[in-house]
Point group: C2
Chain length 205, copies 2
């Protein structure tokens, strides 16, 4: 009776990343249609960008790229029916939210929480670093937000986000969103369809 | 009796750019199906990258990005049926070829010449800076390659590539390939379909 998909695709995302919002908003419907399971992998772009010599988002460092990205977000969110309001702070500190999402990744509430954090940040311009915001979003999932947040920041869980970020680097990830299918890496929300195609019929080159 | 498309899309490309090769290889069939005309706009990424503080391709400057790009080129060229051999020199100096393409952009042989230059560089690993290679590719178009090359490097034409590059900058272009539809900019070969959609039904935001 099981219809559980055998094959999976990993979505590597950072809550600070605008295009990860698009990917997170699109992935569930497309993966379901392709009968592919999604594994949610929060990580931090900051340490990876630092190794590229960047101490800020490339969209802030390179002005024309930033101008383009905001316009592109308008267009893409309109196209995909995602609410969008340019956040008053960019990039937002995503560490705390990512720690919670790391716990969520092993639970049933994880995907909905990820979507909720993204919509709070890019749809409602809320500060997702604020513990009260995260508690509210967790409570909305029927959880005790305070308890989950405390667990996320406990010594048992806290180091795991760093480990996950190191794993991202080992996988060759240099930006977000990234999709990983086996040993294949795809970068950018517009590669989602291609990554899903690849799950079903990997092209051996 | 005319079936000439009323609407056009500009393809801004640099012969040094790997993803521009993909875009150039895909655009004619897709544009024809969408009944959109293509305007070919060669320009130089070098001066634009320099203003971003880069004196080399970002794929050379950021190693993981480079590793990804070459793998991605393998996959994409396989997917789209384009010949691909990783060039022995990257990025290749594209100035001379771009000057010729600028003349070609106003002629019937332009698009075929662009495709031929890209295939020479990324399919056959030929040095497109070499005048003999360019003459050969022009001769293949039924032209006098020597004459066209001399014209491209004449005082009347030579400054125009710089002007075109300045225009790219004014349009907010920061990478290649870029597609321009009116005042809208789309970056990356994977945005071609979206840019073509936009020609027919611009979404007013």
């Amino acid at each position: 009776m099981s219809h559980a998909p055998r094959l999976t695709l990993e979505l590597w995302f950072d809550f600070a990343s605008t295009y990860s919002y698009i990917a997170a908003g699109r992935i569930e419907q497309l993966a379901r249609a392709a009968r592919v399971g999604v594994v949610w992998r929060p990580f931090l772009l900051g340490p990876i960008f630092q190794k590229q010599g960047w101490n800020d988002s490339p969209f802030n460092l390179y002005a024309p790229k930033g101008v383009y990205m905001w316009r592109d977000m308008d267009r893409l969110c309109s196209r995909y029916g995602l609410p969008f309001k340019r956040p008053s702070v960019f990039p937002r500190n995503s560490v705390r939210a990512a720690r919670v999402a790391l716990i969520g990744a092993e639970t049933a509430w994880g995907p909905a929480f990820v979507q909720a954090v993204y919509r709070a940040s890019f749809g409602d311009d809320l500060d997702i670093r604020d513990p009260d915001v995260l508690v509210m979003l967790l409570d909305d999932q029927g959880l005790s937000g305070r308890d989950v947040l405390a667990e996320a920041e406990s010594p048992a869980w806290k180091p795991r986000l760093r480990e996950q970020t190191e794993r991202a680097e080992q996988l060759g990830i240099f930006g977000a969103p990234s999709f990983v299918v086996g040993s294949e890496l795809f970068w950018g929300s517009d590669r989602l369809e291609q990554a899903l195609d690849f799950v079903g019929q990997p092209r051996l080159l």
